[in-house]
């Protein structure tokens, strides 16, 4: 394999966007935090309404990347309760 080919192959694996990697890395913690927020919401209607009104801020407040998937997951779980 010549150097030109090796250089081309190095270009085949650019880094994934940082936000994607962060969101995937946070998956275990995100699940725990979402579970905790849902438990709190079950016990406090006002807290639940505030969560639904601004889910993105709630996730940020929990130290999580407010990725679309995490926002959708939290909203879905809140609606189920």
């Amino acid at each position: 394999m010549n150097e030109e080919r090796i250089a081309e192959l190095l270009g085949e694996l650019p880094p994934a966007p940082g936000a994607w990697v962060r969101a995937a890395s946070e998956l275990p913690r995100a699940r725990r935090e979402i579970g905790r927020l849902v438990s709190l919401a079950e016990a406090d209607g006002a807290f639940r309404d505030a969560l639904l009104a601004d889910t993105t801020a709630a996730l940020r407040g929990a130290g999580l990347e407010p990725a679309p998937r995490a926002v959708a997951q939290l909203r879905e779980r809140l609606r189920q309760h």
């Binding site: 010549n2 192959l9 085949e12 694996l13 650019p14 880094p15 994607w20 995937a24 890395s25």
Partner: protein
């Protein structure tokens, strides 16, 4: 210097609920999953982002289905391919892509995945080079950074970047050829 855990060690640690191990696993395979989605299956960015999260979500949920912990890479490859194909078919149903285009992408995916596997083998050789070489090659070829950006980041005069790249590329070729590396197997390690 700490020794990086093997793939099998990493998977075993993830199963125990070790968040740091999971983070390392995502970091280790993020380029690979991203390349299959965007290069082998040509998914547009917003679709690829969703598919990327789906791959790691399913991997996290089904890690216990992996028969051989060392086979995490081919298992992830298979998972990524399934999710990419599902995403393409969903796009065709929603008429955001032609069915003929989906078939064309699907037909050529195998060959492009093979190219990604070759790139993985080159990166494995890259990881064994001294840091000053692996970093400059990664920045220039994979991150597409300019001489000026690399020079500023590494505190090296711009004029020496080109010669360092050339020298390091030669070392990488030697390492790759002398060790007779070949792409990793792509068979499924799951069940």
């Amino acid at each position: 210097m700490s020794i990086a855990p093997t793939d099998a060690e990493l998977v075993a640690r993830c199963r125990t609920g070790d968040d740091d191990a999971w983070e390392l696993l995502v970091e280790r395979f993020s380029r690979y999953v991203h390349a299959i989605l965007t290069r082998a299956f040509s998914l547009p960015s917003h679709t690829a982002e969703d598919a990327f999260q789906e791959v790691f979500t399913r991997a996290y949920e089904h890690l216990d289905r992996l028969r051989d912990d060392a086979a995490i890479r081919p298992w992830l490859a298979q998972l990524t391919r399934r999710i990419a194909i599902d995403a393409l078919r969903a796009a065709a149903r929603e008429h955001t892509i032609d069915v003929a285009e989906v078939e064309r992408i699907d037909a050529g995916a195998e060959e492009r995945i093979e190219r990604v596997e070759q790139a993985v083998a080159v990166r494995a050789a890259l990881a064994e080079l001294p840091d000053h070489c692996s970093e400059v090659l990664d920045r220039f070829f994979a991150r597409d950074e300019s001489y000026a950006t690399i020079g500023a980041a590494l505190d090296v005069p711009q004029g020496t970047i080109a010669s360092r790249i050339s020298r390091c590329l030669g070392k990488l070729r030697e390492k790759f050829e002398h060790e007779g590396r070949s792409p990793a197997p792509t068979a499924s390690g799951g069940r």
